[in-house]
């Protein structure tokens, strides 16, 4: 079988469907939205390396320009879709009605995904000047876990969820009218299903970035007298939730695994190229590097995202195996636990290794001994692992519900 098959539509295919024009428009808009969000994600990967090696000598650095081009582009696409769909709704265009749009303030009518992604982009745009203000006050090395970084990242999460909603709803409609995979089929996967999976990878990639401080600089949280290792909790939540949503949305063996492979390939590519891009621009512009040496590829960081494939395989296998024997709730809980076991182990190892790496990196800088993060105590690791298992089980349940919404929602 050919890996990539662009097939002619059959007589009842998308081209002949009464809503074909509307469907094509939404698919095109969703693809443009995901492209803009991907551009912003590339900019974010570059920006992290830029901060590390060059700092921040102005607001409009090249990575920031890429991020905000993506954010503004995504926002404009959402505004355009909401306005066009509203006009079509009131004009009673076939395919634009209450079953395919949500109402906003009683006036606007648009697909839920674009409304959600628009709010996400707006949140990110609002966070940008506030984040600049925070940097002006507290310096270039403000941690990722600062108020307005968090605001921007939550906005990105909302926008990514919106893109997943937009593509999932089109997938449902195409599955119902039998046009899914009629035009593009790759290794037996309909193109639109792969698009929806790729949109979902953004959520996983975002949480991975969000949890970076927990691996390097803030390994534990102090909750009163209790110390907890944090990275297993956050990473398990992200991997299990997105894996479960993927497998339930498509109900196809390997969906979760494929989703994490796509996320890993994207992250690995950005991680591979970002230091090279920093070095090219840094050398050409005569910047002084903040760390000794020149920006270089960190192969462990490049290969690390592939570690998240293991928990996804566990989720895939456990869910599909259990679903045939038990009911949905138990299947999702067991799959969640199955995914959280390897993820907890991986996250714990990553944190311990991350602290060692950070210590090694900080030792190269003068007078940095006060900044070294402490090695977490055994009870913190054990409690973190235990909580990660609980969170994994719950994330399995929530992911299953999210996947079911994406499997059914046409709006």
């Amino acid at each position: 079988m050919a890996a990539f098959a662009a097939t002619r539509p059959a007589t009842t295919g998308a081209r002949d469907h009464p809503f074909a024009g509307e469907r094509r428009f939404r698919l095109f808009a969703a693809a443009a939205l995901v492209s803009m969000q991907t551009l912003a994600a590339v900019g974010l990967g570059w920006d992290i390396q830029w901060h590390r090696w060059l700092g921040r000598d102005s607001f409009l650095t090249p990575p920031h320009l890429i991020i905000y081009t993506g954010v503004v582009g995504a926002g404009l696409i959402c505004i355009a879709v909401v306005l066009i769909e509203t006009e079509r709704y009131w004009r009673r265009v076939p395919g634009v009605d209450r079953t395919s749009t949500v109402s906003l303030l009683g006036v606007f009518h648009a697909p839920l995904g674009f409304v959600l992604a628009g709010f996400g982009a707006l949140t990110m745009a609002l966070a940008a000047p506030l984040d600049n203000y925070w940097h002006q006050l507290y310096g270039v090395d403000v941690t990722l876990w600062s108020p307005f970084h968090m605001m921007g990242l939550i906005g990105a999460g909302i926008a990514y969820l919106g893109a997943a909603y937009a593509l999932a709803s089109e997938l449902v409609r195409s599955r119902r009218d039998g046009t899914a995979g009629r035009r593009v089929m790759i290794f037996g996967w309909p193109g639109i299903a792969l698009g929806a999976l790729f949109a979902l990878t953004a959520v996983l990639r975002l949480v991975r970035v969000l949890m970076e401080p927990s691996i390097e600089t803030f390994p534990t949280w102090q909750l009163g007298p209790i110390e907890v290792l944090t990275s297993p909790i956050g990473l398990t939540l992200a991997v299990v939730l997105t894996s479960m949503a993927a497998v339930v949305m498509l109900r196809k063996p390997g969906a979760a695994t494929l989703m994490t492979v796509m996320a890993a390939l994207f992250t690995a590519t950005v991680t591979l190229l970002a230091p090279i891009a920093v070095r090219i621009v840094g050398d050409a512009s005569g910047y002084t590097y903040r760390l000794p040496g020149h920006p270089h590829i960190n192969w462990i960081q490049v290969l690390l995202p592939f570690a998240y494939v293991l928990p996804a395989i566990a989720v895939d296998v456990a869910y599909l195996a259990q679903l045939r024997r038990w009911h949905r709730m138990r299947a999702s809980l067991i799959a969640g636990l199955a995914g959280s076991l390897p993820m907890t182990a991986i996250a714990t190892i990553l944190t311990l290794d991350g602290i060692s790496s950070t210590q090694a990196a900080l030792r190269m800088l003068p007078a940095s001994s006060n900044d070294l993060p402490p090695q977490p105590a055994f009870h913190a690791i054990a409690l973190g692992a235990l909580l990660a298992l609980v969170v994994g089980g719950y994330a399995g349940r929530i992911g299953e519900q999210l996947g079911r919404i994406w499997r059914l929602n046409t709006r």
């Binding site: 607001f59 709010f119 002006q136 270039v140 909302i158 002084t288 949905r328 079911r404 499997r407």
Partner: protein, 190 residues
């Protein structure tokens, strides 16, 4: 209503004139530094400087010997953060000031509040030398940390409400799906 127009116009004119006069007034601070055979008079147009705003300055170079030493002069400048200021060096943009020998105009935009030094490197026939001028960079008033976190995490509340709404929507979708999507629930055993 109409009577308010003249006073509003007057206010606008007054604001405009005050802006012009502020721009036209001389430097806020002048300092002299000696760099080998060169003497530099540095005029700052803002003191303290403000984060995110351009700090403009003039540099007039005089030579101890002949004016030949002022030909082919080059000047480079950076705002260098002092210890305790978490910032990266910012390069200033420098241009020749008119046709006068030894005259330069520069500007630099610091990004973080704190202590800096304006580091100037002058190169010419009399050699290359560097001088430093302390700078202070102010920032807007800091809002309380709790308020910043409240604003930053506000979208999370929206996301939570959306999640609850979606959860309640799931039953309706499930009902519609079981009637509209044949085979979709073939694996479901609930």
């Amino acid at each position: 209503m109409m009577r308010r127009w003249p006073s509003a116009l007057l206010a606008v004119v007054w604001l405009g004139l005050s802006g012009i006069s502020a721009a036209a007034q001389g430097p806020i601070r002048s300092e002299t530094r000696y760099a080998g055979a060169y003497t530099l008079r540095i005029d700052l147009y803002s003191d303290p400087a403000f984060t995110g705003r351009r700090l403009t300055f003039d540099v007039v170079v005089a030579a101890a010997g002949t004016t030949d030493q002022l030909r082919n002069l080059t000047l480079a400048a950076w705002a260098m953060p002092e210890a305790g200021t978490n910032a990266t060096p910012v390069r200033a943009s420098i241009s020749q000031a008119g046709h006068a020998l030894g005259g330069f105009q520069g500007s630099v935009t610091p990004q973080v509040r704190g202590s800096y030094r304006l580091h100037l490197i002058i190169s010419g026939p009399a050699g290359t030398n560097a001088v430093d001028l302390p700078l202070r960079v102010a920032a807007p008033t800091a809002i309380p940390i709790w308020l910043a976190w409240s604003i930053g995490l506000l979208p999370l509340l929206g996301l939570f409400v959306f999640g609850l709404q979606q959860r309640s929507d799931l039953a309706r979708l499930q009902l519609m799906g079981s009637t509209g999507e044949g085979g979709a629930s073939s694996h479901v055993v609930t």
